[in-house]
């Protein structure tokens, strides 16, 4: 199991939530104090460097026009970390290439990071969440198709080395593609794609890319991983290896249960702060009409309902792993077995007001006490044994938590 440290780089110093309509898209940036912001950037970069020292891998992402993630340009963060870290793999999850007007720019940025880090880049591509439509001014309709066309262009730019080539697709055009630098890793850096439904895994599995799932939890993980494994088997005639699947959850490890719960409650800020109205969470063309209709009718709360989901509920769903090292290992093992196994744990280890010291304490405990056992767990991976286990464990039933999960459908 490779374990990745991740923080969204939030700006949490906000007025009371009832004084604003949304934390995303239209929250005025007068609430952003650049002095505090500078301190935060340095704290987050220090955390990623500490993760590198501890032996964890590094993950960054980006969002736009939001206090929940003040990294609108993840390649800038990763460019700094390419220079400042020594050993960690560097995952960007990811580049929102369906929303980018020119994917070649992404190909260039990623090649630079790969070369500066001497081949440590893991390059993720995402369709992105619904609230990105307005900041990008891009209609989400056919976003998956746009993503794959941009991907094709980027891979072509990365892998052709004999002078300019042509790409004139439906959305993206360039007639003289010849990027400098070319990537360090050959033929190109490993590619990750976020997936949120069984169907969306098919092209990812066909390309043998790592499929990453965010917060699907017990309610939806089997459907998604099953989709990937089946598509992989169909396309390649063999089982997908564990490292083709990743799972992202909130994680906090403490010396005792109370301390761990207190830390986890702070990480839960990521969910509880996500106040977003329907017109940002349900842009036309992001969700299929039947899902969009449920949001329009108010049957699903857009991003509203999870605000009421407490820590115990989120832990029961497999969205949060929190407790002592023993408890956290047991929680992850249970989820891992239920899911049929995965090779990457993407840990949101910091959010909201969780301090540098408290984050580091949790990461250190994780690295010393949990990670070795996860290594043993994945080393013991036996797909037949997991199938047998699964046959004894029926699908868990959960109440619908609204559109929050759906927003990670890509």
């Amino acid at each position: 199991m490779q374990s990745w440290f991740f923080t969204e780089d939030a700006y949490p110093y906000l007025p009371e939530a009832d004084t604003y309509e949304s934390i995303r898209v239209n929250l005025p940036n007068k609430y952003y104090d650049p002095d505090k912001g500078a301190d935060l950037y340095h704290m987050y970069l220090d955390l990623w460097c500490a993760a590198d020292d501890l032996g964890l891998e590094v993950m960054v992402n980006e969002h736009h026009q939001t206090a929940t993630c003040v990294v609108p340009a993840a390649p800038i963060m990763l460019g700094i970390l390419a220079r400042q870290t020594r050993r960690a793999r560097l995952l960007i999850l990811g580049n929102p290439i369906a929303n980018r007007s020119q994917p070649l720019r992404v190909a260039e940025e990623m090649a630079m990071i790969d070369v500066i880090s001497r081949g440590r880049l893991e390059c993720g591509f995402v369709r992105s969440v619904p609230y990105e439509a307005a900041p990008a001014n891009v209609l989400p309709f056919r976003g998956a198709e746009r993503l794959w066309e941009a991907h094709d262009m980027i891979v072509k730019a990365w892998t052709t080395h004999d002078g300019p080539v042509n790409f004139e697709g439906r959305w993206f055009h360039a007639r003289q593609i010849n990027i400098w630098p070319r990537p360090y890793q050959q033929p190109h850096p490993p590619i990750w794609i976020t997936v949120g439904s069984g169907r969306s895994t098919v092209p990812v599995a066909q390309h043998q890319y790592t499929g990453a799932v965010f917060l699907a939890g017990y309610p939806r993980i089997r459907e998604i991983y099953d989709g990937y494994r089946t598509a992989y088997r169909t396309a390649h005639g063999q089982e997908a290896s564990l490292d083709r699947l990743a799972y992202a959850a909130l994680v906090y490890v403490g010396d005792n249960t109370e301390q761990a719960r207190a830390g986890a409650e702070k990480v839960l800020w990521y969910m509880t702060s996500n106040k977003v109205p329907q017109h940002w969470s349900n842009p036309p063309g992001y969700h299929p009409p039947a899902v969009a209709a449920q949001i329009m009718k108010g049957a699903r709360g857009g991003a509203g309902l999870p605000l009421t989901a407490r820590l115990d509920e989120q832990m029961a769903r497999g969205n949060v792993f929190a407790g002592t090292p023993d408890q956290v290992f047991a929680q992850i093992k249970s989820f891992w077995e239920y899911a049929g196994g995965f090779g990457h744990l993407l840990m949101m280890g910091q959010a909201g007001f969780l301090t540098y010291a408290d984050t580091l304490a949790s990461m250190r405990l994780f690295t010393q006490e949990v990670q070795p056992r996860l290594q043993e767990l994945t080393a013991s991976y036996d797909s037949e044994r997991l199938q047998t286990l699964r046959a004894c464990q029926p699908d868990k039933e959960f109440a619908d938590l609204g559109a929050f999960g759906v927003e990670f459908v890509r």
Partner: protein
């Protein structure tokens, strides 16, 4: 004359068309809200005209053709429809987004047209780059959009009283509406330089309370179309044909009788 819904093959697309009434042909191009609530207006129109009202692909449960992604796809679809039906001396009437389509049809070819009627049409951008000429209906809460659309917002369809399937059709309408109008938003920067080509009598009908494209926008539009006239309808918003169908019809009849 034929009554009811029919399917007409145009460009290999099965176009759904409502055709009803007797009289001069009137091609009605609906707006982003579809023909929801337009029953009374259509009935009155059909008493005087041969009404031909196609459903834009993607609306009312129809499929968006794979190659469609811009309003121009509708423009050429309806230029072809005029040919396929061999319509002559047509009154072309466009509502809101359909008004934009109608204007784009007219600047390309008026040979089959008798008159042009634009009702609360979008399609131009009269202001500068810092001015939001057309309300961003995709970036506002639903109740705020209702206030922009209607003089009397209680006219707004009540989603709670609809079935899931009916709301899913509205959600699909919204996708199609956005696909045809997203960027540049609700306008074609080139249209203003082409409107001078319109050589048929043109009437603009506008709801006085339209909050999406206010009357000042209508006046700018009128000045760009040679000889066009503007009728402003009191106690009506962006859909005067829904809120004041009789008054709108009076203006239509007076205009075509000219």
């Amino acid at each position: 004359m034929q009554a009811g819904v029919q399917t007409i093959a145009v460009q290999g697309i099965d176009l759904q068309v409502v055709r009803q009434g007797t009289g001069p042909p009137l091609l009605l191009l609906h707006g982003g809200n579809g023909l929801q609530g337009h029953g009374p207006f259509l009935t009155r129109l059909a008493e005087r005209f041969d009404v031909i009202a196609p459903t834009h692909p993607g609306f009312a449960g129809t499929t968006i053709p794979e190659h469609f992604d811009t309003l121009a796809d509708l423009v050429y679809l309806y230029l072809d429809l005029l040919d396929v039906l061999d319509l002559r001396q047509v009154i072309l009437m466009g509502l809101a987004m359909g008004g934009w389509v109608a204007a784009e049809v007219a600047v390309r070819n008026t040979s089959r047209l008798a008159q042009l009627i634009l009702i609360d049409a979008v399609g131009i951008k009269p202001g500068d780059r810092d001015t939001r000429d057309i309300a961003d209906i995709f970036g506002l809460p639903a109740p705020d959009v209702a206030k922009l659309l209607f003089h009397d917002p209680s006219q707004t369809p009540n989603l709670a009283s609809m079935t899931d399937e009916q709301v899913a059709v509205l959600a699909a309408d919204r996708i199609a509406h956005a696909m045809y109008t997203w960027d540049p938003y609700m306008h074609n920067p080139k249209l203003r330089y082409r409107l001078h080509r319109i050589d048929v009598p043109t009437l603009l009908i506008w709801g006085e309370s339209d909050g999406v494209v206010p009357v000042a926008y209508a006046e700018a539009y009128r000045q760009m179309i040679p000889g066009a006239t503007l009728a402003v309808i009191p106690r009506a918003g962006h859909l005067p044909q829904v809120e004041q169908p009789d008054v709108v019809l009076q203006h239509v009849l007076a205009f075509v009788a000219r």
